[in-house]
Symmetry: C2
Subunit: 187 residues, 2 copies
């Protein structure tokens, strides 16, 4: 999926070409392992993932903790930094070769001043990312590792298939060996 | 602050009366201790807090865990349930007598179809609530209880003044006695 397709599906519009959109969109690719936005950097781009796999981490002392993964068909980035234009406390990395669309910060802020579609899109993308991130927080407060793994398996099976098992363990906040036990409990 | 004032400040508009807004706003009061939205309820309202103090909790077995507090001048509610129209996994309660403004779900969705200002408002309110909730998640992953208390003290001193100490401890995810120790370390 691309940004024009995402907009057409959600807002019953009919954008056929990029130049019809209320902001400029450019395409970009990242090789597997690329750090797209690093800790301390001010995020100047909103990204839409066409293909590939994205990881968001935070730094605890010298250890990366995984906050979120993103699969194709959604917006991603160091979004708090993008909104506040303050240095990022998260790092955004490509876990595989990625194809993305990019909207520049100034372009988007300009479009927000006058464009209904730009604001509808910004609202929807922020709502989606809010639902994902608060769900994770609530799950950590209320569910066991087993329950969180079971739910990941049923709700986001693609993630289990695509993400290396040691990273799934990190994401769930458990040791890789504990994850092996949880997986045996399932089978 | 009221919703028209919030909109005027953020979008340089000049709304003087409620009927000029692109959606209906009603005023309501809640007595201290009122459960505004209960677990399992589908949230049909977006609330703006004019005065008072709001608490959001999740349920772990039979224990309430505090997810967030809201002070006057911002939107609140069981927002995931509001967006998804699924049963709420959070409870919204009035910790003191509260004066609020209310926007009905259908009213807002209708306004979102055509109104620039409604979408600008929805986007900004969601951005603000996203920044607050993800900050809390990142802090839990990367900071000690002492660091989280220090930051609360410096960034949200009103909260420390207004919220009972046992609730601050719950919010920080620590025992009330540990919080007493942290407070002594400060003084």
């Amino acid at each position: 999926m691309t940004i024009p397709e995402y907009i057409n599906i959600n807002f019953k519009t009919d954008f056929k070409e990029y130049h019809e959109l209320p902001f400029k969109v450019t395409k970009k690719t990242f090789k597997k392992g690329t750090v797209i936005t690093s800790y301390g950097q001010i995020e100047r781009s909103a990204y839409f993932l066409i293909s590939g796999l994205i990881e968001i981490t935070v730094l605890k002392d010298t250890e990366d903790k995984i906050v979120e993964f993103f699969l194709p068909g959604c917006f991603f980035g160091a979004y708090t930094s993008f909104l506040s234009q303050q240095p990022s406390d998260v790092q955004v990395s490509a876990l595989s070769n990625c194809e993305v669309e990019v909207i520049d910060y100034d372009e988007l802020q300009n479009a927000y001043k006058t464009s209904l579609v730009a604001n509808q899109l910004g609202r929807l993308a922020t709502e989606s990312i809010f639902i994902i991130s608060t769900k994770r927080e609530k799950d950590f407060l209320t569910k066991s590792a087993q329950e969180r793994y079971d739910e990941l398996l049923s709700k986001r099976p693609d993630l289990i298939k695509l993400v290396p098992v040691n990273k799934i363990a990190k994401y769930l906040g458990i040791h890789p060996e504990s994850l092996s036990r949880l997986r045996k409990n399932i089978s």
